[in-house]
Symmetry: C2
Amino acid sequence: MANTLYLGIVGVGGVGTALLEQLGRLSNPPKLVLLSRSTKTLVAQTPSYSHSIPFEAWEIAAAAPSITTVDALAPEDTAAYLGSAPGRSILVDNTSDLTLAKAYPIFLKQGISVVTPNKKGFSADISLWNDIFASAADGNALVYHQATVGGSLPVLSTLRDLMATGDEIVKIEGVLSGTLSLLFDTFMPAIGKSDAKWSSLVAHALQIGFMEPDPRDDLNGMDFARKLTILARVAGLQVTGPESFPVTSLIPNELLSLPLSAEGIAQFMLELPNYDEDMEVAKLKAEEEGKVLRYIGSIDVSTGEIQVGMRHLDRDNPIANLKGSQIVSIYTKRYGANPLVLKGGGGGGEVTAMCVMSDLLKVMEGLA
Amino acid sequence: MANTLYLGIVGVGGVGTALLEQLGRLSNPPKLVLLSRSTKTLVAQTPSYSHSIPFEAWEIAAAAPSITTVDALAPEDTAAYLGSAPGRSILVDNTSDLTLAKAYPIFLKQGISVVTPNKKGFSADISLWNDIFASAADGNALVYHQATVGGSLPVLSTLRDLMATGDEIVKIEGVLSGTLSLLFDTFMPAIGKSDAKWSSLVAHALQIGFMEPDPRDDLNGMDFARKLTILARVAGLQVTGPESFPVTSLIPNELLSLPLSAEGIAQFMLELPNYDEDMEVAKLKAEEEGKVLRYIGSIDVSTGEIQVGMRHLDRDNPIANLKGSQIVSIYTKRYGANPLVLKGGGGGGEVTAMCVMSDLLKVMEGLA
C-alpha cells in the first residue's frame, strides 16, 4: 500500500482551491506533480518527479523547489507528462471544459485514472461515454465523477451499487437543479401561499448569486438535462445526448433569439415580466387539482423514456417541499413501491470539492 | 488484479441464501472455501484450497468435489482455516451471533477482512469496537458493516465520506426501525386521521410478520439503540454502549417482568390493550401542538448527547411521513441548515444481502 501515487490537478477556481485545502489535511496525500490554471501550469522536475507541489496558493506553490512554471499544456501533453511518472497517476479535472473531457480516453488508455465534477464529457455524445469506459478498462484505470449528478449526494455510487448487486432499476425521478427547486418552491410553496411573480423571483435569485451569471443557462433546463443524461447512462440506457429527449425550457419562445451578451441578459430580464401570466396560468392549473407545480426530471428505465419539465405533484410528495435542496428517488425491483430517496443541499465550491475528494480517496484506495 | 481472493461465509439463512445467489451471478467471484451453518461447516481441501464450494443450496454445495463436511467450527478455527489460504481472505458473517463478532479481532489481525450485517459486535462494549479497528489496522485488513445501520441505505459510507473529506458532523437524527416507523405512521398519520388503537396495530404488525417474533424486541427500543450506538461511533463518539444513553421503552413498566417464553409473548399481547390509554394521551399531547408523535433517535455530536424516544414533529417534517421507511438526516458544518437526507425501505433478506454484497465488492476491490 506504500506505492506513491502521482496527482495532476487542472482548474484552480472555487472547487480547485477548496480541494487543495482538503488535500493539505490528508495524512497520506498523493504527490501533486502538476497544477494547471487557464494560462499557466506548474510541473515537477522530470524524469524523477521527486519534488512535489505544495497544497498552497498558486504563488507559494510556484516558488517551491524544483517546480517549473510553463504555459498551459494541451490535454495530450498533460497526459504524456502524467503518464511518464514513475508510478500510477490520477488526473483531477475541476474545469467545465469539453476539450479536456474529450481527451479523457487518452489519459485512461495510459492507465491514468480520472476524477472530475465536469459534466461536459459524460453528457456529450454517447460515443465519448463509451470510449471513456472502454479506455478505462483497457488501461486498467478508474473513472469517478460523483459530483456530476446531485451535487454532493451519493447518487451515482448508490445507483452503481444497486446494479452491481443485481437489483433492477425501474424508474428514477428527481430535482437535479437547486436553483429551479428554490424558484418553484417559493413560487408555489407546498404549505401556505405566495403571490410573488415568477419574474421577480428570478430577478431576486440572480441578484443573490443563486443563478448562473446568465439566468437562461438555468432556465433552459439543459444543465438539468445533462445531469439526467448521465444518470440514465449509469442506469444502463444508451442515451444519445441531452437533446435526444423532451426538455421544457422556461425561456419564453419570443425571447429565445436574444443575444448571449450582457445586453442580451439585461434585455431578457427586462422582458421576462411580460410572460408572468403564462406561469400564473400553469400555477392555477396545478392549484385546481389541489397540487403544486414543480420542475422535475424522470427516467423510465424499462421504456427508455426520459423527460424534463413541469409536473403537478401532491403537496405531501417529498419532491414538493425541497426548499432549494436536490432530491433523487430511485425505484428498483427490490425496493418496490418504497423508493430509495437521497436529498440534500446543492453544490457550492466546498461541497463539490468534498465530493471530488471522496472520489479521489476511493481511487487512491483502488490503486494502492 | 488477478490475485485469487478466498471467501468464508458463516450463516446460510435468508441473507446468506440471497447472498449466495447474488455471488453466483458475479463474473469474477471470490473463491468460496468455507460455508457454515449452525451445526455443520463445508470446507475446501487443504493445503491447496484449489477447489471451491459452488454458490448453490447446501446439499449441492456439500456434494461438490473435494469439499468436506465437518462439524461447526469455533471462530478461532474458522480464522485459522481462512488465514492459511494461499492468498487474501474474507469472512462474511451473516449471523446475529455475538460470540463470532467478539472474535473479529482474531480474524483481522491475521489479515482476514470482515464483511457483515451483524450489529452485535459493533454495538457491544466500546473496547470491542476499538479492538476491531485497531486489529484491522494491524492486519492491514478491511471491515465493512454498512447493513448494520439504516437497512440498505448508504448511511455509514456517506458519513465516513463526509468525515474523510474534513466535514464536521453536527447532528444526526433519524428513524432506524422500519417497524416502529410504520406503527407510529399508522397510529397518527401526518395527513388524515386514524382511530386505531395502539395495541391493535401492534397485533396486526406481529400477525403479518412485520415484527420480531417477540414484539418486545422491537418495542423496547434496544435494536434502534444499537444502530444509533454504531452511528454515533462512526461519527467519532466513544459511546460506551446502547445502555449508556436514555432509550424510551414502549413496553409498559408493569409488563416488564413477563417471561421471554411463548407464554410470555401471549400474555404480553393479551395485556397490551390495557395500556392503550397511555398512548392515546401521548397522541393527544402532540395533537394539541398541531404536531405528530414519532419515535426517533438523535445524536448531538458536539455535546455527545444521544437519545431514543417519542418526540413531537411538525406534520411537514420529512421524518413525519415515512410509511415504514427508515430515514437518516445528517447535519454537518458544510451542509448548514439543509441536512443530507437518506430515506428508503427497510431491510429484508434480499435487500440486506445486496448491502452485504456491495460491501464485499468494495473489499474485493480494496484487496485486488
